[in-house]
Amino acid sequence: MSPLERDALMRLEPELRQPSPGVQLARRELSPGLVRIMFLMRLYVLCAVIAVGVALVRGVH
């Protein structure tokens, strides 16, 4: 490590240092309103997947 590299590294903002792979953030606590939004989103995604699947099958035949 050259002195120039050492100086640059020492001045690198701590939050920009390469994190250890696998470090996880805490799971978000969901409020009742947010739980409802997440449920509706799951329902929406499920409907979308079914619709696309049906369209694909009908399209193939």
Partner: protein
């Protein structure tokens, strides 16, 4: 931070908090990049600073001016000429800026990629949804990019295998630089090729008064069938905001190493990208408008080469050549950015290294994901009888359907004060971003619904 072991002691540093730190190879590169940023800031060189910090915003916006998007703009110009769609397309880029600016703030506040944050904050189900949505959507979109590359190069008589193989090699070579800054500058240089649509528009000698009138009055309104009009409205929205853009810009801002001090430049970068991409989109509509004026039947125009050939009798060989070149560039740059967004997401979800600064041995899955996705997409376009039209339709369906949950997740993250701190959305930002989400989500869902209904044979 990387943990230290005894073998690394010669390269160990004691940081300002007194703890041991063993810099990873990526840290050396990022430290070098940040030294240049600090120096430009200290010397009060705003343009130099901007040039150093610009990248993710310009790339994501010009990357989204991809093969299918350019075809949408060309079809719009050939169908309706200069009128309502010029200001409408401008508005879609304002929406794109509002959405993408949030990804910059989330990235700067958390220093985490989009897929990683969704998994960590909302759990594995949404993490799986994010990665499935992105990888499937991206793979199908990549197929359409290679279709655009094939179509554009066919105008110059280049055989399909040579075009597809050449594009794959180019994408892999840019990844092989193993340096975020080099990759970014290379792709930005190529992305500037998107601007060829501007001289194409100028060579079409458009009526500037008509353009000014269209931009100020939103007219003339398109005549003809409502279904065609709605489809083009929705296609133009889909051409500007798609899920991969959220993942790409957030991860690229993290990989580039932007901090709170760089937020203003991150915003300018995004606005600059939106402005350039909007200019190109409008130029494409203007360049193709003569086909509308000459009542050319556009039903037979399916790809970039068809449009180039159709333009030739009216605007000459130079415009046709620029158009074909622009389609090739649009496909190649999108292949680079979209495959990188897949690679970031795969690395984030697998919790492995996912930086363009990493060496291959340290980020194997990251590089494999990018290379395999472009390789598979290129191979699919070469399979005789591959259902390319069905794939193009499915790309639109999947990205428009899934844009709504993707935007809601982004809004939730941008409002999450635990991780965003002072960078969380303000009330005004929520009103603007919320309206944009409702508009984009509703339009996307309607578009997806129309396409699915058509597939089911429902006559709308």
């Amino acid at each position: 931070m990387m943990p230290c072991d005894s073998n690394e002691l010669p390269n160990t540093l004691v940081d300002s908090t007194g703890s041991l730190w063993c810099p990873a190879p990526e840290d050396y590169l990022r430290a070098h990049d940040r030294s240049r940023v600090r120096s430009a800031r200290a010397r009060k060189r705003p343009i130099g600073l901007m040039l150093l910090l610009a990248g993710p915003g310009v790339l994501v916006m010009l990357g989204e001016n991809d093969g299918p998007s350019m075809l949408s703009y060309a079809t719009t110009g050939a169908t309706y000429g200069i009128g309502f769609f010029l200001p409408f397309i401008l508005l879609t880029f304002v929406l794109a800026y509002v959405v993408q600016e949030m990804t910059v703030r989330v990235a700067i506040a958390t220093h985490r990629g989009h897929a990683e944050l969704i998994r960590d904050r909302f759990g594995p189900v949404w993490g799986f949804f994010a990665i499935a949505d992105l990888t499937v959507g991206n793979l199908l979109t990549l197929v359409t990019e290679f279709v655009a590359i094939r179509a554009g190069t066919s105008y110059f008589g280049i055989p399909a295998p040579v075009a597809a193989g050449g594009a794959v090699i180019l994408v892999v070579l840019t990844l092989a630089t193993r340096r975020y800054a080099t990759w970014e500058r290379t792709v930005m240089l190529l992305a500037l090729g998107n601007l060829v649509f501007i001289p194409a528009a100028l060579l079409a000698h458009p009526d500037t008064e008509q353009i000014a009138r269209a931009l100020t009055t939103w007219g003339p309104l398109p005549a003809g069938g409502l279904m065609l009009f709605m489809t083009l409205v929705l296609a133009n929205v889909g051409a500007t905001v798609t899920p991969w853009m959220l993942f790409f810009q957030q991860s690229a801002v993290v990989d580039k190493g932007l901090t709170v001090k760089d937020l203003a430049q991150g915003r300018i970068d995004t606005a600059l990208g939106a402005a350039l991409a909007a200019l190109v989109a409008l130029s494409t509509v203007v360049a193709v408008a003569p086909l509308f004026a000459h009542h050319v039947n556009i039903a037979a125009l399916n790809n970039g080469a068809d449009f180039a050939t159709a333009l030739r009798p009216y605007l000459g060989a130079p415009v046709a050549t620029l158009f074909a070149l622009g389609m090739v560039e649009a496909g190649i740059v999108a292949a680079m950015t979209i495959s990188t967004s897949s690679a970031y997401a795969v690395g984030e979800v697998l919790r492995t290294n996912h930086s363009l600064n990493s060496e291959f041995a340290h980020a194997r899955w990251f590089f494999i994901a990018a290379a395999v996705s472009v390789g598979v997409a290129a191979a699919v376009t070469l399979v005789p009888g591959a259902p390319l039209l069905a794939i193009a339709i499915m790309v639109n369906v999947i990205s428009t359907f899934l844009m709504l949950p993707a935007l809601i997740l982004l809004l939730l993250l941008a409002n999450d004060r635990e991780i965003m701190g002072t960078l969380a959305n303000t009330l005004r930002q929520n009103v603007v971003a919320g309206s944009a989400t409702v508009a984009i989500g509703a339009i996307g869902a309607v578009y997806g619904g129309i396409l699915v209904a058509r597939q089911l044979g429902v006559n709308l």
